[in-house]
Structures are given as structure tokens and as C-alpha cells.
């Protein structure tokens, strides 16, 4: 890292998560196990206040990556450094400290709240767990945070139960809840995909505002490239557990390099008179990433694949100082 660029907030190196599975009786007998390569050698850095979008189809490993970062799951190998400290294998006490600074919000706001607790109790609990403030201070902090997010009057919401609120309201409160701890890093895992179109913008804007006011970095996980474009500074396209390419959002969208990125963009549905261009046809569905051998993960569906693609796994390589692509076509 050169002196001029700031030290990264998050530095993920060769992160891997394999889920072992035994598929047959023979496997059980021979104690042979297969592995789902959910996340395979993912590396990236994230600067304070930066938003990185992880984009890909379902099962591509983007959510697993998010969970690994906040240590809801533990990596099989690789390292996660947060502010220079290795957090890959923290013990429970240190983990609690880390979690205060790295938070996650999920897709389904209804599952994020205990249905038997009032909103007030849910919010109080977060502060209580991290031992922040007295009862009164906590109350004041909660009301202020809700007001800051435009949820007013706060009293109207605090005494209610989750089922009395809409999905949009709950997701906004879920966001407020993680903000109570003033984290430096937020993993937002498809935070708007279950919400109605009209309320999505509210959540997205809320997150952007928080980034602006708090210099909070966000890993924004989404399947929707348009949403990614709206939110992110940089974008990483994932396919079968690995990055296909990563770079500044406009560069990637306007000039996709990896064939998969091209396919993804060309299949995005236009709105109104938007012009997307001819779809790049790729056959079949993404396979399950079990026991991946060598070669490019996308080779079987890639219209440009050649011999080398099946012989050698392409590495993520810089095509310009801010952009990296994992494709043998780039070598030409």
C-alpha cells in the first residue's frame, strides 16, 4: 500500500469457504468428502467510507462472503483483516468488540426482529449487549437515532411489535438498530430485495446518507446491477464463488471485460427506452460448485471459451490500476 492511499479498513485475502458434503453411502464408507466451493479465493480491500457492491446470481457466494466478513461463519482458509488486525479467528470476547464495529443487515426484516419483543426492547437489547450507556442514555440515543433516520415520532414505533409494522418500516428500523453501535463497516445483504419498489429508494438513500455522515464503509450484496450502480463506488461480479471482475462501478458497467459480466449486463431488463444491446446468449444454468477442478468456472457456458480456459484457472489480474478481471481473454 503506498503512502498516499489510505490504509484499507478491510482487507480480505484469498478467502475460502468449503462446505463438506457426503453424497453417497460409498462416500460415508470411504470417508471421502466432497466440497461445495461456496467462496473460493476471494480477495479485495475496502477503504473507509467506500461502498463495494457484490453482484451475482443466487448461489454465487456473495452472501457467504458477507457472513464470513462479520464472522457469522468461519472461513476455511484465507484472512480477513480489519483495520490491520486479523479477525479471521477471533475468540468470543474479541469477536464482540469486532462486531460492534462490523454489522450486518439482512434481506428479510421480519426475521431480524424477535416477534415477541417490542421495537424498543429490540433496540435496547443491542445497546445492553454491548454495555453502552445507562437506561436513560440508551433511550435518548434510540430516539435520536430514529429521528435521524426520519422515523418520527419515535414514540409511535417504539411500543409496537414487529408484526404491526410494514416491511419497509422494519427494514429502516433494522438499519437504525445496527447504526446504534456506530459501526465502521456494514454488510448489507440484499437489504431491499424483499421490499416494494416504492420503499426501496428510502432504504437505499438512508444507507447512502449514513455513509456520507459517518464515513461508514458498506459491502452491498445484491443481484440487481442497477441497484449496485446506484449504491456502489466499486463493483465485484461473482460467479460460482469467485470474482469474475472487480472495478469502479461505471467502468465495469459501461465497459464490461469478463464474458459473464457482459452476459449479466446484456440480460438486464431495460426500463422505458433504455438501450441494453443484444443479449450475450449463454446456455444452461449455473452449476452447483461441487469439487471444482481446474479451469475457468464459466468455461462451460462461455461463448468465447478456448482450450486454455478448461486447463487453467484464470487469476484475477489487473487490466488497469483500478480494475481486475479473471479471464484468459485478457492475456491476449
Amino acid at each position: 500500500m503506498s503512502a498516499i492511499s489510505p490504509a484499507p479498513l478491510l482487507d480480505v485475502t484469498a478467502l475460502r469457504r468449503l462446505f463438506p458434503i457426503r453424497r453417497s453411502f460409498a462416500d460415508v464408507l470411504t470417508r471421502r468428502s466432497h466440497a461445495v466451493h461456496a467462496v473460493d479465493a476471494v480477495s479485495f480491500t475496502l477503504n473507509p467510507g467506500e461502498i463495494l457492491a457484490l453482484v451475482g446470481e443466487s448461489g454465487c457466494g456473495k452472501s457467504t462472503t458477507g457472513r464470513l466478513i462479520v464472522r457469522l461463519d468461519t472461513a476455511t482458509s484465507g484472512a480477513i483483516r480489519f483495520r490491520g488486525h486479523d479477525v479471521t479467528h477471533l475468540g468470543s470476547a474479541a469477536l464482540k468488540q469486532f462486531r460492534r464495529q462490523a454489522q450486518i443487515i439482512f434481506q428479510n426484516p421480519f426475521e431480524a426482529f424477535d416477534s415477541r419483543q417490542t421495537i424498543a426492547a429490540s433496540l435496547q437489547q443491542v445497546l445492553h449487549i454491548h454495555d453502552i450507556g445507562t437506561q436513560q442514555e440508551r433511550q435518548a440515543r434510540i430516539v435520536a437515532a430514529l429521528a435521524g433516520a426520519g422515523i418520527v415520532p419515535a414514540g409511535d414505533f417504539l411500543s409496537r411489535y414487529p408484526h404491526e409494522l410494514s416491511g419497509g418500516q422494519l427494514q429502516r428500523i433494522a438499519t437504525v438498530r445496527v447504526m446504534l453501535l456506530e459501526p465502521n463497516l456494514l454488510i448489507a445483504d440484499e437489504p431491499v430485495s424483499m421490499l416494494d419498489v416504492s420503499v426501496r429508494a428510502e432504504i437505499l438513500n438512508q444507507l447512502l446518507d449514513l455513509r456520507g455522515s459517518r464515513q461508514m464503509a458498506i459491502v452491498f450484496i445484491t443481484h440487481d446491477i442497477a441497484v449496485a450502480r446506484y449504491m456502489a463506488d466499486r463493483i465485484a461480479v461473482m460467479y460460482l464463488g469467485a470474482f469474475a471482475e472487480i472495478g469502479p462501478v461505471d467502468d465495469v458497467i459501461e465497459n464490461p471485460q469478463h464474458p459473464y459480466t457482459k452476459a449479466l449486463l446484456s440480460h438486464t431488463l431495460p426500463i422505458g427506452d433504455e438501450v441494453i444491446g443484444e443479449p450475450l446468449e449463454i446456455p444452461g444454468d449455473p452449476p452447483t460448485p461441487i469439487d471444482l477442478g481446474v479451469g475457468c468456472r464459466f468455461a462451460d457456458r462461455c461463448p468465447f471459451a478456448f482450450e486454455r480456459c478448461r486447463m487453467e484457472t484464470p487469476r484475477l489480474q489487473p487490466v488497469d490500476p483500478r480494475r481486475q478481471v479473471a479471464c484468459h481473454l485478457m492475456d491476449d
Binding site: S166, E202, D224, A226, P279, I282
Partner: protein, 336 residues
């Protein structure tokens, strides 16, 4: 838009749900017609009543829901007045078929695809021999680019995309003139969704289908329809030819809806959120149901439900902002 024969005409259709806390007017006084050979998109958020409309057309409303007014004219016959037996014999699937959302659960999980499709076909074509039915099934699958292997599979053995193609094949089973697609591609990945939508467009041509396409996703609507009807909280807010809808949406809600969707191109401006929440349909606001969230709200918006105003070129809007325009009489004319 040209005056074409309307295949399906919803006239002042109202549907209400009975709940423990009172009646919910899910669809209120809805007028809509789908001309033969065209695709009409029904766009709206959750709770807008769009799936209720689909269920009402096939008379599949749950036990606690009922058509409380209006008619569903299909080829001149009011489906709302028919008995279950009549619907089963003549209308369901033979005339109107449907592709459902959540397609993975749309067939029985413990029976093979072949057995289920065959069972359905036998209901409608009892005269066919077994071999003829099998041939029909194979043909259909080929039409949606699936192999015969699918027939011998169980639903869980198929990917989301394959299952959705199967459901489209099922929809075409009896060669119906009219197909309803209810959020048919919602759960699919981007690439699969786009592929299937292109297939739907092709099949519409091939089978000369009239379609009602229901989605919350303006992208899907854009990709598949000729005209768009916008629903909000059970009220029809606007009907417009597709191009017109995207280029010049008239209703404040339509405008907000389009403005709230992030784009893949163009300037990256701050998305306009629609403040507030959907109204409580147990106690809906009087008059225009969008009024509480509308930036252009006037006192008159709450006094009565505005009529549909005819903006010309097939565009109709239910908003007092357009009161200078003539009031449309959808019962007498064909829209879209």
C-alpha cells in the same frame, strides 16, 4: 390505439376479503379490457390487488374472498356468474390458463411431472389415447426448450428456470387463447428471467396468445407488454400504451414508481422515494387511495374517487390533476 375486439373485459370489478377485523376492499371498481392478441401488463406493489384480479378471473379466490360487484366478460360470457362445474368444463385451462409465481411449489412435490401434466390433460382431452397425450406433452416441452427427461422428473429435480419453462408448457397444454402470467419470473436470476421472457414473447406470437402479465417489476412489464395498467391499493390509477407509460407517465404514482427504480444508464441522480406506506385497506382513505402519499394532493382528492380521465391515444388516468380532460367510459369503449 386501434379498436380491436376485447377478449377479456373487467367491468366495475370489485373484490373484497373478509377478515377477523373487517372487510378489505382489495379491488375497487376496476375497469380493464385486454384486446385479443395483445399483452396487457398489470403493475403494482404488494397489496395493490393485482394477484387478486388474476384469481378473480379464474374464479380461484380463497374462501374468505368474494367478487362484490362488476363482471368478468370473457368472449362475452360473464365468468363471475358461472358455477364451478361450468368453469371446470369449459373455461379453466381450455380458454384461460395461467403461469403462477413461486413455480417451484406450483406442482405437487411428490408426483412426477409427467403424471401431473398427463392427469390435467386427460381431464380436458379424455378422448386422446395415452400415446397421443405423451406426444403432446413432449411437443410442448420441446416448445419451451426442455427435453423429455423433464417429464420423468419430480419438481424438486428441476432448476428454477426449468420449472418455470415447465409451467409455461403447462399453461399451453390445452392451447388456450388467453394466458395470465402472475409474477411468472420473479424468483429467477437475471439471465434466466431475461431468457424466459424472450421465450414468452416468442410463444405469444407462435400460439397467437392474448396475455395478462402481472408484475411488480417495471422491467418485466417493459419487456413483455403492449400496454400497462397501474394498480395502487386496489384502484386502477392509469392505463397507457407501454411507450407512453414510460415516456410520459401521467399519474403522480406512476411517475413516482418509475422514478424510484434505479437505472443501468443515464445520470445517477438521487432516487425519489415515495414517502409513507401503503394505506390500511381495512380503513382506506376516502377518495384517491394514493392521496396521503401524493406530492400534489388537493383537498378534493379525499372527497370522492376520481373518475378515469381520457388523455387520448389510449392513455387514461384517475387523478384530479387531469380533470380538464374528458371522462372515460370504459364500459362502453375498449381501452388500450
Amino acid at each position: 390505439m386501434n379498436q380491436t375486439r376485447s377478449l377479456l373485459t373487467l367491468n366495475h370489478l370489485s373484490v373484497a376479503y373478509r377478515t377477523s377485523r373487517g372487510a378489505v376492499q382489495a379491488v375497487q371498481d376496476l375497469d380493464l379490457s385486454v384486446p385479443a392478441g395483445r399483452s396487457v401488463g398489470l403493475v403494482g406493489e404488494s397489496g395493490s390487488g393485482k394477484s387478486t384480479i388474476a384469481a378473480a378471473i379464474l374464479r380461484l379466490l380463497p374462501e374468505n374472498a368474494a367478487i362484490t360487484g362488476g363482471s368478468i366478460a370473457f368472449n362475452g360470457v360473464d365468468l363471475a356468474t358461472l358455477s364451478d362445474a361450468e368453469l371446470n368444463r369449459t373455461w379453466r385451462w381450455r380458454e384461460i390458463a395461467m403461469v403462477f409465481q413461486k413455480s417451484l411449489a406450483a406442482l405437487s412435490p411428490v408426483n412426477r411431472i409427467h403424471d401431473q401434466l398427463n392427469d390435467i390433460l386427460r381431464q380436458h382431452e379424455p378422448a386422446l389415447r395415452e400415446a397421443e397425450r405423451d406426444a403432446r406433452l413432449s411437443d410442448l416441452l420441446r416448445a419451451v426448450h426442455l427435453s423429455d427427461r423433464v417429464l420423468h422428473s419430480y419438481p424438486f429435480e428441476l432448476s428454477g428456470g426449468m420449472m418455470q419453462r415447465t409451467m409455461i408448457a403447462l399453461g399451453l397444454l390445452c392451447n388456450p387463447p388467453f394466458l395470465i402470467l402472475d409474477e411468472a419470473t420473479t424468483a429467477l436470476d437475471v439471465i434466466t428471467q431475461a431468457q424466459i421472457l424472450r421465450e414468452v414473447n416468442r410463444l405469444k406470437q407462435e400460439y397467437n396468445l392474448t396475455a395478462l402479465i402481472i408484475s411488480h417489476d417495471v422491467g418485466v412489464i417493459n419487456a413483455t407488454t403492449d400496454a400497462v395498467a397501474v394498480l395502487y391499493a386496489g384502484q386502477l390509477m392509469e392505463v397507457a400504451p407501454k411507450r407512453r407509460f414510460f415516456a410520459a407517465p401521467a399519474h403522480p404514482y406512476s411517475r413516482a414508481l418509475i422514478a424510484s427504480v434505479p437505472r443501468l444508464s443515464g445520470p445517477r441522480q438521487r432516487l425519489a422515494a415515495i414517502p409513507g406506506n401503503l394505506p390500511d385497506l381495512l380503513d382506506p382513505p376516502p377518495g384517491c387511495r394514493f392521496a396521503p402519499r401524493c406530492p400534489y394532493v388537493t383537498p378534493r382528492c379525499s372527497t370522492a374517487v376520481p373518475p378515469l380521465y381520457d388523455l387520448g391515444d389510449g392513455q387514461f388516468v384517475r387523478c384530479v390533476l387531469f380533470e380538464s380532460r374528458p371522462i372515460a367510459h370504459p364500459a362502453e369503449e375498449t381501452m388500450a
